[in-house]
């Protein structure tokens, strides 16, 4: 028998995707502890999440500095001692800050958990924000800032949210060099006191989680009073979008050979009924390797090494943006092609085979994104942060079977009309 190499082997019928749910367990003081017990390795990830993102800060950079400085010294141990202890037990920390929340994550082997937990407790509850370490942190970040300012891509990424939201908006503020000089130890202490409290905390644990682990977490984090929940400042989330849709910033370098492009607009929250269809539409446009932007601008024209579009959901808004770095000489042509692709989504229904491909791809991608204990914990976090439950993922999987080209075209017309799109180019004017 001659092997048929031309025909694709048959696909398995769509099987149901099992979504493993995080379980909830309350600590004695009421801190919610969510956990996913899964995986084959003796590893544990414990993430402490606080509503302590950059939107809460009154002084720029304070939220990020507070978060980063947690591992730089406590009342009992220096930065070096903390790192030594964790290193010795093969454990590591990750601190991160987004607009809406901040987190401190401990990764450890199950066998070393009892050594690592007290250190985590100490740096959450008793950070000392030492002056010397703070100065080094600010100074070194200032230098990184200057290096970043030389990159078209970074300049575009920093300026784009401020076009969409306005520089005074909690999501739109663009960091300036001099702001590093305005960060003071006492601001960090105050921010920490206000936002890193038990009443403002949730814990997500994943990996090989057992009863003992839940009790251990309770021993370290379940005793402090949660009465005093953080008093959140009322922020003004009104948009102050730029009046000019088309924007240009000169390249920071004399001999620049590429320009950075950002295009997009403000959207809605993740809870909005259009959120799921828009994500599918975004995938078709620029959300995977075979997307229209990649096929046209990279694979057909060779203008770029990469181009993509993405949707960002924050608690008080969402936005959509396209990003690429393209050869300076072809920048204008690339922008024209991007508008063409947006227009095509508005005017022509997505062909059936392309839609089917994207649905299948997204199903596979969804399975990948649910693979392994840490991934499952992340999936939980992403709904929990938006006060949603697992029915969101059920709806999502459902939409991957049912959504039609007609619905997608309606969404495109609603959100991707040319006159609603902000455009930013960082490069050289011809």
């Amino acid at each position: 028998m001659i092997l048929d190499r031309k025909t694709m082997p048959g696909l398995a019928l769509e099987s149901k995707i099992d979504i493993i749910h995080a379980q909830e367990h309350s600590l004695p003081n009421g801190i919610p502890l969510y956990y996913v017990n899964a995986g084959t390795q003796d590893v544990i990830k414990i993430e402490l999440v606080y509503r302590a993102g950059s939107r809460e800060q009154d002084v720029p950079l304070v939220a990020g500095s507070t978060n980063a400085m947690l591992e730089e010294g406590t009342k009992k141990h220096s930065s070096e001692e903390i790192a030594s202890l964790l290193d010795y037990y093969g454990s590591f920390l990750e601190t991160s800050v987004q607009q809406d929340y901040a987190s401190v994550t401990l990764y450890t082997l199950g066998k070393h958990l009892d050594k690592a937990l007290p250190i985590l407790e100490e740096l959450i509850k008793e950070p000392s924000f030492p002056q010397n370490e703070l100065e080094i942190y600010l100074h070194n970040n200032k230098q990184r800032f200057l290096v970043d300012e030389q990159k078209e891509r970074v300049v575009a990424a920093k300026n784009f949210p401020s076009l969409l939201f306005g520089d005074s908006h909690p999501y739109g503020h663009k960091t300036r060099l001099e702001e590093y000089d305005g960060v003071k130890k006492e601001y960090l202490e105050a921010f920490h006191k206000k936002y890193y409290s038990a009443g403002n905390c949730a814990i997500i644990a994943s990996g090989r989680v057992n009863e003992k682990l839940l009790n251990q977490i309770g021993d370290y984090f379940g005793k402090d009073s949660t009465d005093k929940s953080a008093a959140f400042t009322n922020r003004d989330y009104a948009l102050h979008s730029a009046t000019q849709k088309i924007n240009f910033i000169s390249s920071p370098k004399k001999d620049s050979v590429q320009s950075a492009i950002r295009m997009g607009r403000v959207l809605f929250h993740k809870t909005h009924t259009d959120a799921i269809p828009f994500q599918i539409l975004n995938t078709i446009l620029g959300g995977y390797f075979g997307s229209r932007l990649m096929s046209n601008i990279r694979e057909d024209k060779g203008y770029t090494y990469g181009i993509s579009s993405s949707v960002v959901f924050l608690q008080h808004a969402g936005y959509f943006n396209i990003g690429s770095e393209v050869g300076s000489a072809v920048c204008d042509a690339a922008v024209i092609e991007i508008y063409k692709e947006l227009d095509r989504l508005c005017k022509e229904p997505v062909p059936a085979d392309e839609l089917q491909l994207v649905k299948n791809y997204l199903r596979g991608n969804f399975m990948r994104s649910m693979d392994g204990p840490f991934a499952l914990a992340d999936r939980f976090k992403h709904i929990w942060l938006h006060n949603m439950d697992y029915s969101y993922y059920e709806k999502y999987v459902d939409a991957l079977s049912t959504i039609t080209s007609k619905e997608l075209m309606e969404i495109a017309n609603k959100y991707l009309q040319k006159d609603s799109i902000y455009e930013l180019v960082v490069g050289t004017k011809k």
């Binding site: 092997l3 398995a12 290193d87 370098k253 060779g302 693979d371």
Partner: protein, 414 residues
Amino acid sequence: MIDFERFTLANGLKVIVHRDTSTPMACVNILYDVGARDEDPEKTGFAHLFEHLMFGGSVNIPEYDTPLQIAGGENNAFTSNDITNYYLTLPAVNLEVAFWLESDRMLSLAFSEKSLEVQRNVVIEEFKQSYLNQPYGDIWLEIPKLAYKVHPYLWPTIGKNIDHIKYAVMDDVKAFFKKFYCPNNAILCVTGNVTVEQVKTLCEKWFAPIPMGNPPKRNLPVEPTQMEPRKLELERDVPASAIYKMYHMGKRVDKSFYTMELMADILTDGNASRLYVELVKNQKLFSEINAFTYESIDPGVFIVTGKLLDGITLERADAAIQKELAKLTVAEVQKDELEKAKNKTEAQHIFAEISILNKAMNLSFFELLGDAQNANKEVEKFFSVSEKDMLNEAINVLKETNCSTLYYRSNQKS
């Protein structure tokens, strides 16, 4: 511990299977034993350009990505100085699609002129994006040729210069394929929710009919021992000066590799590391400092690099690094300092084994080095390094006569 089975097809294709039923996915990794070190010195960057062309359609399948995406899969690839590695993950129920796609492009490519033309441009944009338009980007074009004079590690994977890519022609592409892309020059590893029987059946069906090739026996020039310090100075429009110091060390399979990896950890990994504490925090000479090894199969380099703070001269920064490194050549490292580095390494290995993709890449790579079973012996090898080994290796490696130093001077500062 990664359990696996292995077999070889009659055409020489080596196959490794690791079953992990905790996931609904499968991963297929194919490693081709060809990297930038195998290139013609007049046609560099070719292995990497070729990797791009592997996505431009094969003899029976006009497009690679589309069917894979229909099957819910995702893929990528990378080229290093040593290897070209292709990988994909997809729902395990659709495993056969991966075999269909990968076997067809091992059989033969479509060799489309359009694909060549476009990918040449894409790679040129990649060259610009990563090396020319990035502050400090051209360092990686400059420093390999300082450390290597004859061994092909002297050029970077992207190629010596854009012209080598610009003038690549279809005949080169065809010759390269014929030479290196054959079953007996590849290792296939399948991990995830699969069975050995299933993989055997699929291999017989899709890969066994591909004829054996005749890959050249590798015979690369050996880099002569460096006898004198080497220096290069560049001046660029960047906000801060930087220093790079590269020391010759052993091969990936040598004890030297494990020793120097631990050395790198002790020097710059984390807030308690020697150079961070001494040069970043105490003396405040650098904003950042890093030490690492090239994980290269042939004798590699150990690199120490830092970005200088304002007002610090390159000469002073260089002397400070040398002074710290010299400490490793006169006294053994502390017992707990070494233990710490080992424990950390062990944890990193265990964490990496969560992913079926990491496992597949690892098994393939160690099979290439001689035996996939060695993927399970890495931690043991790190633990076998003693304080005395560290001292001896530091004496061998960390000396100026074995070092190439780059001063990358900022012209924005005095």
